[in-house]
Homo-oligomer: 341 residues x 2
DNA sequence: TACGTTCATCTAAACGATGACATTCTGGAA
DNA sequence: TTCCAGAATGTCATCGTTTAGATGAACGTA
């Protein structure tokens, strides 16, 4: 049935040498003669030898696995980040272990636990919306395992991070709406504990201020930013005595949800009410009108995060954490483009 | 800096017992007295003991990791399957290692290699569109590692599989179009080496036959089924001397691509041309008109696949492979619903 | 008292790869 | 011939956990 796997000992026996020589030959150690190396490699092929990475990992404390925790892998943004990470770390011989937190703190904790137990060599995280307490990360740091945050980061944690300039993205989006003639702009604002949402809100507020538009608290709607939240907010909004003339949502999903309800109720987007989302999810280009949004250069972010990890591995724990900020890009589509008249 | 991790030996020393007793106590071995167990567990907590799963894995040949290979993790269908798998296997103490093949045979091979090297306890795969040769799977089987195929399977491989009844899904979709009065129905047909696409094509053909509609080869368009392919096909179609009255696409993406071009060219969906896709991607409900499609009960499929894996683990390699077939569900939206007149 | 049982624990050998250190061998310099 | 340097390989302990088999203590029984 299950054949016993070949080990370096089997190879050694066949060639009348020792396992350590085989090990060194396979690792291209300089002190092993070329003839031996060739013999070993040939025999390894012949016996269909597959290294047991567990044994190696146990011995030298490195698994060559990096763990990535994302809220949801089926978001275009996160899956692109993951692809970026893979691209970079694969080249250095690492594999990627993906976990989903479903935006739940509990799941995130258990993910961290699983990754630590699997002895990954590093952990890249975009934390859950629910996460407000970071003690579980402290354990990662204490263990000396490289930790890199991407997209969602926290100032209280002194670790490497890659983020986009959410402030700038939101500023650009809001400015664009203002330039389209909008004055009463609603903002769907995400959970306060997540810094990206605080920043997006700040960008929104700042743009209004710069253009001398009054900031009204009741135009800022706290939201969980899911599709259904968008539905609900839009249902509320259409009951207001005076309709706003734009929505800037911190997420494409809630923006989409709002658009659906608006359409159902005969409110014309963008003429009566312009909409801008955030993330450049793939569906934003499918819908009609196309949903204006902010692209986050996701793959780039993944590559950056991976590079930070590799740097940490090389240099040991770096002196001071590196915070990389990428510049987002405003993508203008039909949902916010008012016909000049 | 990096503190040395506590091992069972540390616990043993503190309590003046041996490591083997500690190991057994932690594993709730029946021959260990309750008092010792309690002491060990208490001390383990005190020293913040975290088992080294690598060592355990090396010793007993099981890693408690299952590998899942999907073409693309950001497809709603696949990410739901993954969630289903996770749900089931987590309960039995397994973790899930996700790999993406990007529909490339080479990447798929390297994924398999990586999973084997990581010594996963089982592999669940939906193979790449490019995959026509299954020798890399043979190695998995030879090693005695449980292999389960989902969604995309191959009859030549004698392994457990969970699929939906693609034939039935396609039949229902085509029948629905016929009942809406369509007679010239185009089919976007995926690569022949992938059985699900063969089956979908068969369902399409059979429905036409049953309703005595002539099957015309030039209405069956071979496609890679991406968004861009849909664009291209639609561009071709609108140049035909006689427009078809419906498209049944084996994928939501190519269906979407076609809809975009049709709209741009002023062709009204569904009145002039009805469209049905396949997979129930999340965007299908966002677009206008909503895209009719076939739901594949993805989470259910993941749960089933995971269960098959667990069964194999329990029973050793099963006598004869189990093929589970789930029933798909036709979801009718605006893109295929013609107003009765 | 001698002996078998049972229970709780200990001993020691794995699992497979690695690397510091020890050993052997070769050729060349003194 | 002797000695040494350096190249190539061997020895052996180690990573942390698990487990078959050995050991020993406590108890009951004849």
């Amino acid at each position: 049935m299950t054949k016993k796997r070949t080990t370096i000992h089997d190879i050694a026996d066949k060639l009348n040498i020792t396992a350590s020589t085989v090990s060194r030959a396979l690792n291209d150690h300089p002190k092993i003669s070329n003839t031996t190396k060739k013999l070993v490699i040939k025999m390894a092929k012949e016996l269909n030898y597959q290294p047991n990475s567990l044994a190696a990992a146990l011995r030298n404390g490195r698994t060559n696995i990096v763990g990535v925790i994302v809220p949801q892998a089926d978001r275009n943004f996160f899956s692109s980040v993951i692809r970026g990470v893979e691209e970079v770390v694969n080249k250095s011989g690492y594999n990627v272990l993906i976990c989903q937190s479903n935006d739940s703190l509990e799941k995130e904790k258990s993910n961290i636990k699983a990754l630590l137990e699997a002895q990954v060599d590093g952990i890249l995280v975009s934390y859950a919306k629910e996460t407000t307490n970071f003690s579980h990360y402290q354990e990662v740091i204490n263990k000396g395992i490289p930790l890199i945050l991407f997209d969602r980061q926290d100032e209280s944690l002194d670790v490497d991070a890659v983020v986009i300039d959410d402030y700038l993205g939101a500023y650009k989006a809001t400015e664009h709406l203002i330039q389209q003639g909008c004055k009463r702009i609603v903002h769907f604002c995400g959970p306060e504990n997540v810094s990206i949402y605080r920043e997006r809100c700040r960008g929104y507020v700042e743009a209004l201020r710069r253009y001398n538009i009054e900031i009204k608290d009741d135009l800022i709607i706290k939201s969980n930013l899911k599709l259904e939240d968008g539905h609900q907010h839009a249902l509320d909004i259409i009951k207001w005595p005076e309709l706003p003339d734009a929505i800037f949502s911190a997420s494409d999903y809630s923006a989409m949800g709002a658009m659906e309800i608006l359409k159902e109720n005969g409110i014309i987007v963008p003429d009566q009410l312009a909409v801008v989302g955030f993330s450049n999810e793939s569906f934003t280009s499918f819908v009609n009108p196309g949903l204006s949004t902010v692209d986050q250069h996701s793959k780039n972010m993944g590559q950056h995060a991976a590079q930070l990890f590799l740097n940490q591995i090389k240099q040991g724990s770096s002196t001071s954490p590196t915070k990389t900020v990428l510049t987002p890009e405003l993508i203008i589509r039909g949902s916010s483009l008012r016909v000049k008249s």
